[in-house]
Protein backbone atom coordinates (compact mmCIF):
# COMPACT_ATOMS: atom_id res chain seq x y z
CA UNK A 1 0.00 0.00 0.00
CA UNK A 2 1.55 3.29 -1.09
CA UNK A 3 1.39 5.84 1.72
CA UNK A 4 2.11 9.02 -0.17
CA UNK A 5 -0.27 10.90 -2.45
CA UNK A 6 0.14 10.08 -6.12
CA UNK A 7 -0.43 11.98 -9.33
CA UNK A 8 -3.26 14.46 -9.53
CA UNK A 9 -5.96 13.27 -11.87
CA UNK A 10 -6.85 16.89 -12.60
CA UNK A 11 -3.81 19.17 -12.89
CA UNK A 12 -2.75 20.94 -9.68
CA UNK A 13 -5.87 19.61 -7.95
CA UNK A 14 -5.28 17.21 -5.09
CA UNK A 15 -8.34 15.00 -4.67
CA UNK A 16 -8.73 13.71 -1.15
CA UNK A 17 -8.71 10.07 -2.11
CA UNK A 18 -7.78 6.98 -0.13
CA UNK A 19 -4.05 7.62 -0.47
CA UNK A 20 -4.26 11.17 0.79
CA UNK A 21 -6.74 10.21 3.49
CA UNK A 22 -4.42 7.46 4.73
CA UNK A 23 -1.26 9.53 4.35
CA UNK A 24 -2.71 12.58 6.03
CA UNK A 25 -4.51 10.77 8.84
CA UNK A 26 -2.17 11.94 11.61
CA UNK A 27 -2.02 15.58 10.51
CA UNK A 28 -5.78 15.73 10.06
CA UNK A 29 -6.49 14.08 13.40
CA UNK A 30 -4.18 16.53 15.12
CA UNK A 31 -5.94 19.43 13.40
CA UNK A 32 -9.39 18.02 14.17
CA UNK A 33 -8.32 18.06 17.81
CA UNK A 34 -8.14 21.86 17.61
CA UNK A 35 -11.92 22.03 17.61
CA UNK A 36 -11.67 21.60 21.39
CA UNK A 37 -10.69 24.64 23.48
CA UNK A 38 -8.37 22.69 25.76
CA UNK A 39 -6.44 21.41 22.76
CA UNK A 40 -6.16 24.88 21.27
CA UNK A 41 -4.66 25.95 24.57
CA UNK A 42 -2.22 23.03 24.52
CA UNK A 43 -1.24 23.88 20.92
CA UNK A 44 -0.55 27.47 21.92
CA UNK A 45 1.41 26.51 25.03
CA UNK A 46 3.68 23.92 23.43
CA UNK A 47 3.02 23.26 19.79
CA UNK A 48 5.72 20.63 19.44
CA UNK A 49 4.40 18.60 22.38
CA UNK A 50 0.85 18.86 21.06
CA UNK A 51 1.95 17.53 17.66
CA UNK A 52 3.83 14.68 19.31
CA UNK A 53 0.64 13.56 21.02
CA UNK A 54 -0.71 12.69 17.58
CA UNK A 55 2.45 10.92 16.48
CA UNK A 56 3.37 13.27 13.64
CA UNK A 57 6.54 12.34 11.75
CA UNK A 58 9.41 14.86 11.75
CA UNK A 59 8.47 15.80 8.17
CA UNK A 60 4.85 16.39 9.17
CA UNK A 61 5.84 18.34 12.26
CA UNK A 62 8.09 20.62 10.28
CA UNK A 63 5.35 21.31 7.73
CA UNK A 64 2.92 22.28 10.50
CA UNK A 65 5.38 24.30 12.59
CA UNK A 66 6.60 26.30 9.60
CA UNK A 67 2.98 26.81 8.47
CA UNK A 68 3.92 25.30 5.13
CA UNK A 69 0.40 24.86 3.81
CA UNK A 70 1.48 23.50 0.46
CA UNK A 71 3.58 20.87 2.18
CA UNK A 72 0.83 19.98 4.65
CA UNK A 73 -1.52 19.37 1.73
CA UNK A 74 1.13 17.41 -0.13
CA UNK A 75 1.46 15.17 2.92
CA UNK A 76 -2.27 14.49 2.90
CA UNK A 77 -3.53 17.31 5.08
CA UNK A 78 -7.04 18.32 4.08
CA UNK A 79 -7.76 22.02 4.15
CA UNK A 80 -10.94 21.68 6.17
CA UNK A 81 -8.97 20.14 9.00
CA UNK A 82 -5.73 22.11 8.83
CA UNK A 83 -7.72 25.35 8.55
CA UNK A 84 -8.35 24.97 12.28
CA UNK A 85 -4.71 25.93 12.80
CA UNK A 86 -5.72 29.37 11.56
CA UNK A 87 -8.23 29.58 14.40
CA UNK A 88 -5.36 29.39 16.87
CA UNK A 89 -2.73 31.24 14.86
CA UNK A 90 -4.68 33.63 12.63
CA UNK A 91 -3.98 33.76 8.92
CA UNK A 92 -6.42 34.64 6.14
CA UNK A 93 -7.62 31.82 3.94
CA UNK A 94 -6.58 33.83 0.88
CA UNK A 95 -3.03 33.81 2.23
CA UNK A 96 -3.21 30.03 2.53
CA UNK A 97 -4.49 29.95 -1.04
CA UNK A 98 -1.76 32.26 -2.31
CA UNK A 99 0.89 30.15 -0.62
CA UNK A 100 -0.32 27.04 -2.35
CA UNK A 101 -0.61 28.76 -5.67
CA UNK A 102 2.95 30.01 -5.20
CA UNK A 103 1.86 33.63 -5.69
CA UNK A 104 2.15 36.92 -3.84
CA UNK A 105 -1.06 37.65 -1.94
CA UNK A 106 -2.01 40.68 -4.04
CA UNK A 107 -1.30 38.85 -7.28
CA UNK A 108 -3.40 35.96 -6.06
CA UNK A 109 -6.36 38.23 -5.23
CA UNK A 110 -6.04 39.99 -8.57
CA UNK A 111 -5.26 37.16 -10.93
CA UNK A 112 -7.07 34.23 -9.40
CA UNK A 113 -10.04 35.84 -7.67
CA UNK A 114 -10.42 38.84 -9.99
CA UNK A 115 -10.27 41.39 -7.19
CA UNK A 116 -9.24 44.98 -7.77
CA UNK A 117 -6.30 45.49 -5.43
Amino acid sequence: MEEKPGQDRIPDTPLFDRKRSLGGYRINKMAMGLSRPENREAFKQDESAYLDRFGLTPEEKEAVMTRNWREMVRLGGNLFFILKISAVDPVRITEIGAHQAGMEHDDFLRNRLGKKV
Partner: protein
Protein backbone atom coordinates in the same frame (compact mmCIF):
# COMPACT_ATOMS: atom_id res chain seq x y z
CA UNK B 1 -50.57 15.93 2.72
CA UNK B 2 -47.50 18.14 3.12
CA UNK B 3 -46.50 20.38 0.27
CA UNK B 4 -43.24 21.36 -1.36
CA UNK B 5 -43.47 25.12 -1.90
CA UNK B 6 -40.01 25.86 -3.18
CA UNK B 7 -36.45 24.87 -3.88
CA UNK B 8 -33.67 27.18 -2.79
CA UNK B 9 -30.01 27.02 -3.68
CA UNK B 10 -27.16 28.89 -2.05
CA UNK B 11 -23.45 28.89 -1.29
CA UNK B 12 -22.44 28.26 2.32
CA UNK B 13 -18.98 29.85 2.60
CA UNK B 14 -17.85 30.19 6.26
CA UNK B 15 -16.56 33.74 5.69
CA UNK B 16 -20.18 34.79 5.12
CA UNK B 17 -21.00 33.85 8.70
CA UNK B 18 -17.84 35.53 9.92
CA UNK B 19 -18.77 38.70 7.98
CA UNK B 20 -22.16 38.77 9.71
CA UNK B 21 -20.58 38.14 13.11
CA UNK B 22 -18.09 40.96 12.57
CA UNK B 23 -20.73 43.42 11.34
CA UNK B 24 -19.25 43.71 7.86
CA UNK B 25 -22.57 43.51 6.02
CA UNK B 26 -22.47 47.11 4.80
CA UNK B 27 -18.80 47.18 3.81
CA UNK B 28 -18.01 47.56 0.08
CA UNK B 29 -16.63 44.01 -0.02
CA UNK B 30 -19.81 42.42 1.31
CA UNK B 31 -22.78 44.73 0.64
CA UNK B 32 -23.36 43.67 -2.99
CA UNK B 33 -23.25 40.04 -1.90
CA UNK B 34 -25.75 40.39 0.95
CA UNK B 35 -28.04 42.70 -0.99
CA UNK B 36 -28.52 39.94 -3.52
CA UNK B 37 -30.25 37.84 -0.87
CA UNK B 38 -32.93 40.42 -0.01
CA UNK B 39 -35.41 39.02 -2.57
CA UNK B 40 -34.74 35.52 -1.21
CA UNK B 41 -35.46 36.69 2.33
CA UNK B 42 -38.64 38.41 1.10
CA UNK B 43 -39.75 35.23 -0.63
CA UNK B 44 -39.28 33.27 2.60
CA UNK B 45 -41.20 35.89 4.61
CA UNK B 46 -44.06 35.79 2.16
CA UNK B 47 -44.27 32.00 1.80
CA UNK B 48 -43.66 31.05 5.44
CA UNK B 49 -42.36 27.50 5.15
CA UNK B 50 -42.76 25.28 8.23
CA UNK B 51 -39.92 22.90 7.50
CA UNK B 52 -36.59 23.39 5.73
CA UNK B 53 -34.78 20.31 4.46
CA UNK B 54 -31.17 21.40 4.11
CA UNK B 55 -28.62 19.44 2.11
CA UNK B 56 -25.04 20.26 2.96
CA UNK B 57 -21.71 18.72 3.79
CA UNK B 58 -19.86 18.63 7.03
CA UNK B 59 -16.37 20.17 6.78
CA UNK B 60 -14.41 18.06 9.21
CA UNK B 61 -16.40 19.28 12.19
CA UNK B 62 -19.14 16.77 13.04
CA UNK B 63 -17.39 13.82 11.41
CA UNK B 64 -13.75 12.87 11.35
CA UNK B 65 -12.10 10.59 8.81
CA UNK B 66 -12.41 7.57 11.11
CA UNK B 67 -16.05 7.13 10.11
CA UNK B 68 -17.37 8.96 7.06
CA UNK B 69 -21.04 8.46 6.13
CA UNK B 70 -21.96 8.87 2.48
CA UNK B 71 -25.37 10.23 3.43
CA UNK B 72 -26.50 11.04 6.97
CA UNK B 73 -29.95 12.29 7.95
CA UNK B 74 -30.67 14.05 11.21
CA UNK B 75 -33.74 13.16 13.28
CA UNK B 76 -32.80 15.06 16.45
CA UNK B 77 -34.96 17.47 18.47
CA UNK B 78 -32.23 20.07 18.26
CA UNK B 79 -29.02 20.75 16.36
CA UNK B 80 -26.47 22.98 18.07
CA UNK B 81 -23.70 24.86 16.27
CA UNK B 82 -20.45 22.92 16.46
CA UNK B 83 -17.11 24.37 17.50
CA UNK B 84 -15.19 24.73 14.23
CA UNK B 85 -12.11 26.01 16.00
CA UNK B 86 -13.28 29.51 16.92
CA UNK B 87 -15.86 28.35 19.48
CA UNK B 88 -19.50 27.59 18.61
CA UNK B 89 -21.09 30.59 16.88
CA UNK B 90 -23.69 32.54 18.89
CA UNK B 91 -26.71 31.60 16.78
CA UNK B 92 -29.86 29.90 18.05
CA UNK B 93 -29.89 26.11 17.83
CA UNK B 94 -32.02 24.62 15.07
CA UNK B 95 -35.19 22.77 16.03
CA UNK B 96 -35.62 19.46 14.26
CA UNK B 97 -38.66 18.28 12.33
CA UNK B 98 -38.22 14.97 14.15
CA UNK B 99 -41.28 13.13 12.95
CA UNK B 100 -40.79 14.00 9.31
CA UNK B 101 -37.10 13.09 9.56
CA UNK B 102 -38.02 9.56 10.59
CA UNK B 103 -40.66 9.36 7.88
CA UNK B 104 -38.04 10.42 5.34
CA UNK B 105 -35.57 7.84 6.68
CA UNK B 106 -38.23 5.13 6.36
CA UNK B 107 -38.88 6.25 2.79
CA UNK B 108 -35.17 6.22 1.99
CA UNK B 109 -34.71 2.69 3.31
CA UNK B 110 -37.76 1.50 1.38
CA UNK B 111 -36.25 3.02 -1.74
CA UNK B 112 -32.88 1.32 -1.37
CA UNK B 113 -30.91 4.19 0.13
CA UNK B 114 -28.58 3.47 3.02
CA UNK B 115 -28.46 6.57 5.21
CA UNK B 116 -26.77 6.97 8.53
CA UNK B 117 -29.44 7.91 11.09
CA UNK B 118 -28.43 10.71 13.48
CA UNK B 119 -30.35 11.34 16.70
CA UNK B 120 -27.64 13.49 18.23
CA UNK B 121 -25.33 15.65 16.15
CA UNK B 122 -23.97 19.18 15.96
CA UNK B 123 -23.90 21.16 12.74
CA UNK B 124 -21.37 23.45 11.06
CA UNK B 125 -21.49 26.44 8.72
CA UNK B 126 -22.77 24.17 5.96
CA UNK B 127 -26.29 24.60 7.33
CA UNK B 128 -25.80 27.71 9.49
CA UNK B 129 -24.87 30.08 6.67
CA UNK B 130 -27.74 29.13 4.32
CA UNK B 131 -30.24 29.52 7.17
CA UNK B 132 -28.84 32.96 8.01
CA UNK B 133 -28.85 34.02 4.37
CA UNK B 134 -32.56 33.24 3.93
CA UNK B 135 -33.93 33.78 7.45
CA UNK B 136 -31.54 36.41 8.81
CA UNK B 137 -30.63 36.18 12.49
CA UNK B 138 -33.88 35.70 14.41
CA UNK B 139 -34.00 35.07 18.17
CA UNK B 140 -35.52 31.71 17.26
CA UNK B 141 -35.66 30.08 13.85
CA UNK B 142 -39.22 30.22 12.50
CA UNK B 143 -38.77 26.88 10.69
CA UNK B 144 -37.79 23.44 11.82
CA UNK B 145 -35.04 21.69 9.90
CA UNK B 146 -34.06 18.32 8.48
CA UNK B 147 -30.31 18.22 7.90
CA UNK B 148 -28.99 15.93 5.17
CA UNK B 149 -25.21 15.50 5.28
CA UNK B 150 -23.47 14.43 2.08
CA UNK B 151 -19.84 13.30 1.95
CA UNK B 152 -18.21 15.47 -0.70
CA UNK B 153 -14.76 15.49 0.89
CA UNK B 154 -13.28 12.01 1.07
CA UNK B 155 -13.35 9.97 -2.14
CA UNK B 156 -15.30 8.07 -3.23
CA UNK B 157 -17.94 10.77 -2.95
CA UNK B 158 -21.43 9.85 -4.25
CA UNK B 159 -22.35 10.13 -7.90
CA UNK B 160 -24.16 13.32 -8.90
CA UNK B 161 -26.97 11.16 -10.27
CA UNK B 162 -27.32 9.46 -6.88
CA UNK B 163 -27.86 12.87 -5.27
CA UNK B 164 -30.52 13.61 -7.87
CA UNK B 165 -32.25 10.28 -7.12
CA UNK B 166 -32.23 11.05 -3.43
CA UNK B 167 -34.15 14.21 -4.22
CA UNK B 168 -36.90 12.18 -5.85
CA UNK B 169 -37.22 10.08 -2.74
CA UNK B 170 -37.34 13.24 -0.65
CA UNK B 171 -40.23 14.50 -2.77
CA UNK B 172 -42.03 11.20 -2.32
CA UNK B 173 -41.55 11.48 1.44
CA UNK B 174 -42.94 15.02 1.51
CA UNK B 175 -45.96 14.11 -0.60
CA UNK B 176 -46.77 11.08 1.52
CA UNK B 177 -46.43 12.96 4.80
CA UNK B 178 -49.87 13.35 6.39
CA UNK B 179 -49.77 16.97 7.61
CA UNK B 180 -50.46 20.24 5.86
CA UNK B 181 -46.99 21.60 6.52
CA UNK B 182 -45.16 23.63 3.92
CA UNK B 183 -41.68 22.44 2.95
CA UNK B 184 -38.74 24.12 1.31
CA UNK B 185 -35.65 22.24 0.24
CA UNK B 186 -32.27 23.96 0.31
CA UNK B 187 -29.40 22.73 -1.81
CA UNK B 188 -26.20 24.31 -0.55
CA UNK B 189 -22.50 24.55 -1.37
CA UNK B 190 -20.39 25.86 -4.21
CA UNK B 191 -20.26 27.49 -6.53
CA UNK B 192 -16.77 27.33 -8.04
CA UNK B 193 -13.87 27.36 -5.59
CA UNK B 194 -10.69 25.52 -4.90
CA UNK B 195 -8.88 25.78 -1.59
CA UNK B 196 -6.01 23.37 -2.08
CA UNK B 197 -3.25 22.60 -4.52
CA UNK B 198 -1.47 24.82 -7.02
CA UNK B 199 -4.84 25.61 -8.62
CA UNK B 200 -6.03 27.18 -5.32
CA UNK B 201 -8.10 30.27 -5.94
CA UNK B 202 -9.64 28.86 -9.09
CA UNK B 203 -13.07 30.33 -9.77
CA UNK B 204 -15.13 29.89 -12.91
CA UNK B 205 -17.82 32.58 -13.16
CA UNK B 206 -18.87 31.47 -16.62
CA UNK B 207 -19.51 27.88 -15.48
CA UNK B 208 -21.23 29.18 -12.35
CA UNK B 209 -23.67 31.29 -14.36
CA UNK B 210 -24.36 28.37 -16.67
CA UNK B 211 -25.00 26.18 -13.61
CA UNK B 212 -27.53 28.69 -12.25
CA UNK B 213 -29.35 28.46 -15.59
CA UNK B 214 -29.12 24.69 -15.94
CA UNK B 215 -30.18 23.86 -12.39
CA UNK B 216 -33.56 25.30 -13.34
CA UNK B 217 -33.76 24.46 -17.02
CA UNK B 218 -31.65 21.38 -17.64
CA UNK B 219 -31.01 19.52 -14.38
CA UNK B 220 -30.69 16.16 -16.14
CA UNK B 221 -27.55 17.45 -17.82
CA UNK B 222 -26.07 18.34 -14.44
CA UNK B 223 -27.09 15.00 -12.95
CA UNK B 224 -25.38 13.11 -15.74
CA UNK B 225 -22.04 14.81 -15.31
CA UNK B 226 -19.24 12.86 -13.65
CA UNK B 227 -17.59 13.77 -10.39
CA UNK B 228 -14.42 14.56 -12.30
CA UNK B 229 -16.28 17.00 -14.51
CA UNK B 230 -17.56 18.80 -11.41
CA UNK B 231 -14.02 19.07 -10.06
CA UNK B 232 -12.63 20.30 -13.35
CA UNK B 233 -15.38 22.83 -13.89
CA UNK B 234 -15.97 24.07 -10.34
CA UNK B 235 -12.72 23.26 -8.50
CA UNK B 236 -11.97 20.56 -5.96
CA UNK B 237 -14.19 22.10 -3.27
CA UNK B 238 -16.68 23.51 -5.80
CA UNK B 239 -17.60 19.93 -6.69
CA UNK B 240 -19.86 20.02 -3.64
CA UNK B 241 -22.25 21.88 -5.93
CA UNK B 242 -23.64 18.45 -6.83
CA UNK B 243 -25.58 18.66 -3.55
CA UNK B 244 -27.95 21.11 -5.22
CA UNK B 245 -29.14 18.10 -7.23
CA UNK B 246 -30.84 16.63 -4.16
CA UNK B 247 -32.92 19.81 -3.97
CA UNK B 248 -33.54 19.86 -7.70
CA UNK B 249 -34.49 16.17 -7.75
CA UNK B 250 -37.26 16.95 -5.27
CA UNK B 251 -38.84 19.40 -7.69
CA UNK B 252 -40.84 18.98 -10.88
CA UNK B 253 -39.21 18.94 -14.28
CA UNK B 254 -40.64 22.39 -14.97
CA UNK B 255 -39.92 25.14 -12.53
CA UNK B 256 -40.22 28.90 -12.33
CA UNK B 257 -37.17 30.87 -11.24
CA UNK B 258 -38.28 33.54 -8.77
CA UNK B 259 -34.91 35.00 -7.94
CA UNK B 260 -31.32 34.46 -8.85
CA UNK B 261 -28.09 36.15 -7.83
CA UNK B 262 -24.41 35.68 -8.48
CA UNK B 263 -21.42 37.39 -6.93
CA UNK B 264 -17.71 36.63 -7.15
CA UNK B 265 -15.63 36.28 -5.07
CA UNK B 266 -17.15 35.80 -1.64
CA UNK B 267 -13.93 34.99 0.15
CA UNK B 268 -12.44 32.59 -2.44
CA UNK B 269 -15.76 31.37 -3.85
CA UNK B 270 -18.18 32.12 -6.65
CA UNK B 271 -21.36 32.72 -4.63
CA UNK B 272 -24.77 31.96 -6.09
CA UNK B 273 -28.38 31.94 -4.98
CA UNK B 274 -31.59 30.77 -6.58
CA UNK B 275 -35.27 30.56 -5.58
CA UNK B 276 -37.47 28.22 -7.60
CA UNK B 277 -41.09 27.06 -7.49
CA UNK B 278 -42.65 24.19 -9.33
CA UNK B 279 -44.35 25.53 -12.47
CA UNK B 280 -47.52 23.57 -11.78
CA UNK B 281 -48.12 25.15 -8.39
CA UNK B 282 -46.51 28.55 -8.90
CA UNK B 283 -48.83 31.54 -8.75
CA UNK B 284 -50.44 31.79 -12.22
CA UNK B 285 -49.34 35.36 -12.97
CA UNK B 286 -45.71 34.35 -12.89
CA UNK B 287 -46.07 30.85 -14.25
CA UNK B 288 -47.72 32.19 -17.39
Amino acid sequence: MAKLIGGLGTSHVPSIGAAIDKGLRETPDWKPFFDGYIPGQDWVKEHKPDVAVVIFNDHGNSFFLDKVPTFAVGCAEEYRPVDEGWGPRAIPPFKGAVDFSWHFIDTLIDNRFDPMICQEIEVDHGIQVPMELFWGRPAEWPVRVVPIFVNVIQYPIPLPSRCYEMGRVLRQAIESYPTDERFVVLGTGGLSHQLQGARAGFVNPEADRAFLNDIAGDPDKLANMSREQYVEMFGSEGAELMMWLVMRGAMDRDVVVRHKHYFVPASMTGAGMIVMENMATASPAVAA
